[in-house]
Amino acid sequence: MVFLGGQALPGNVGRAILGPFADQRAVDTLNHTLGVDRPLLAQYWSWISNFVQGDMGTSYIFRAPVAPFVIDALGNSMKLAAVAFVLVVPIGILGGVVAALNLNRPLDRIISLGGLSVTVLPEFVTGIILILIFGVWLRWLPISAAWPRDAGFFTQLYYLILPSLPLFLVLFGYIARMARSGMIEALDSDYTRTAVLKGLPWRTVIWRHVLRNALLPTITVIATQTGYLIGGLVVIETLFRYQGIGSLIFTAARGKDFPMLESGILTIGIVYAVATLVADFLYSVLNPRIRLGSDQ
């Protein structure tokens, strides 16, 4: 899909690289060396077979193998994602749980409405607002995510807080809503009634009987969002001048650097697939109905 899309884009690769004033013969020669004048199917085959062997091809722009760029960028993206993830998952779930336990009371209204309103704001809006507040006005946090060379773990973390905040805001409402509705359903369930009528203390009812059943669907949602956290950050990475995979793809797309573009997108696809797989696996571990379904 990505491959076809890339090929279908207008413009000539050789021309894009060499510029509008280059000699047509030079363009043709370059196209030939790059192999882009071959039939589509042949190009696709050599590309995909190389990819599965770990060879992502050579960048048109940098004239260097793509793989190190992609791996570097992926690593950076994962760092950013990890920070956002560590922030949003516990707080999001906590928010949802607290909201559900205070259903229809002011606290619930604040969490639900607040979460929803920040979720619908696009991350470039919240990103800019946050930069203005924390970076320009308060000067607490650096406005760029590009940390100095040889920065240690904590320095990197320090630089990543601001870019991860918009992500936090986007995902918080989403996760909190899922956790809240899961909680409400579990609280209304017959097994919770059983637990309460057993005379168990409220705390035990919540921790032992409600939470696990309530958060199962949320886990799946969180895992699918991991894909977004790693792959969907073009805007944030550009805004904070961060060398992640999103900005890599963005640059590659602008320069018609197809091997880079295609490898980047395929990598993100793989990340999505793995995240979903992990989610399903986690879900089945936590849910005895699926785990033991086969030995019935």
Partner: protein, 676 residues
Amino acid sequence: MTNSAKAENALELTDLSVAYRVAGRNRAVLRNLSLTIGQGEAYGLVGESGCGKSTVALTVVRYLPRNGSITGGAISLDGQNVMKLDAEALRRARAESVSMVYQDPGKALNPSIRVGRQLTEIFELGGVSGRAATDRAIAMLNRVRISDPVSVMQRYPHQLSGGMQQRVAIAMALANDPSMLILDEPTTGLDATVEAEVLDLIAQLSQELSASILFISHNLAVVSNMCDRVGVLYAGMLVEEGPTEVVFNDPRHPYTVALLRCLPRGGQRKDQGRLDTIPGFLPGIEADIKGCAFADRCALADDRCRSELPPLYDLGGRLSRCFHHDKAQALPRATPSDVAPAPKPAAAPVLRVAGLNKTYASHGHALRAVKDVSLDLRPGETLGLVGESGSGKTTFARLLLGLVPPDDGGTIELEGKALAPRLENRSDDQIKAMQIVFQNPDSALNRSHSIRHLIGRALKRLAGLSGKALEARLNDLVRSVRLTDRHLAVKPRQLSGGLKQRVAIARAFAGDPRIVVCDEPTSALDVSVQAAILNLLADLQSKEDVSYIFISHDLAVVRYLSDNIAVLYLGRIMELGPSEDVFSGPHHPYTEALLSAVPKLDQTETARIRLDGEIPSATNPPSGCVFHTRCPRKIGPICEQQEPPLSEAQPGHSIRCHIPYAELARLQKAVVAEPA
């Protein structure tokens, strides 16, 4: 226990009123309800759905839904005022003195916690933990007659059958040795044989434990077997109360009278007259009731009934909230009992099934869901299919309808012509000729269309009608299922369960079917609605000469409507014959066990035959006669080695058993006490 001296009454409700807040207004659900349950007494609460039975239970344990509130009165549990308890005291009361078991044990147990843990946590509350708690839990499971408690402790609820789940739920309820046990429809949804076992268990345990019981059920027969006293609830008010036997044999409130008349009793059949029904509906939650709540549906009601609330008359040890309690039983019938025309002379079968098999593959094993079924169905007749769940009833129906293809070899003939195994290979006429009515009309009707659209579409598709002809037929059809024009414009969710089932029936009849498969069509309905649906089915049958295949777990209902009965067990026909012969016996030992499991209203407690254990897995059926593992009349090794043939014992009556017919007759004569 905090209160050392036991209070005189286990439970006392005084003038209890409960309201639900709907759309910003309080709607009364319970109105000045007073009742007492003595120590060790079993009290039954009956009434149709929506009359407030479950609200009583939830109020006692203070677990009302968020929008519910107690608006007046008092609840005293073992002398303790439940309404004055703070959170901690309430928790202790729940932990120590009151327990509850409700419908649908599959949902009542936590799906992600092992059974053992769910039990031990109760003992931990009482300060027993570790090994000791485990031992207590095992002992408790033993007590509810679970044969392998150690392995059950390790399982998750979904790995247990419905009957086992309910046993576990009962074990949990009894673990704290409560003084008050509330059972809210504890056996609804279970098979008749399982229901019988669970009821036996409750009866035995209640004697061992001397707990008082509040037993809530819509099933009058179950209550009559379980309870000392019974209260009849209508629109949140107690309308009649008294000793169970007295109330059911000599009711003094028109509602009780009418409710009892809705049930097919004593082997009543469709050609012996219609069932009585209760006209109208339970007053809605928003209704403002001035006089007697039942007045609108009562043929005895006069002006006084409509304007003045009748008091609870004390009739010597019993109560009735009716001005006309002395003549309640003279309540005129709401539905004339005029007998349907006599059966027509036997014609050629409309349906002929021969050697039908269905094998599913299940984890590499062959699962024989239906094995070698052969039977005939004549026009205008009903074939009742009975058997526990897992016996193959529904699979058989699906084979007939072509929803799943049978194994090669068997044949299905409709009016002499062979039917293709798959629905898509059948002609339009053949599809039209066979229709189905499901148990749950809610999920069978598309909720986004109006009733007119739903029935109209069926007429277009099945009868190929359009324009004026469609309009005319639509009106006919709607009238024949006793819906009115008013119902046509609305969507399914605006109709009650009974009305929805009428729509489903109208749809099935749209294409003038020859055969209608009714898969538990009344199981989800209240008895008064069930009676109306059964009458409707019987009327349509005599008018249209249609045949039914009627699947139900309620044997009295099957008996009422069926001309022939097929008893299925593990996909095999164990007995096949005219309804009267099958019911009155001599019958197959399995049929005998099924019949004796049915709770009877008149409390003629026959020596009950209990079926031990569960229906074996169809992937690995027992050798020989498949029923031998549970058969109360097993005669010896022959039962384990040879599968008996389905042999004709009497003309038209076949039994699959090694015991000769005459011997069955002799064995069962002592037990058969069935009123004719």
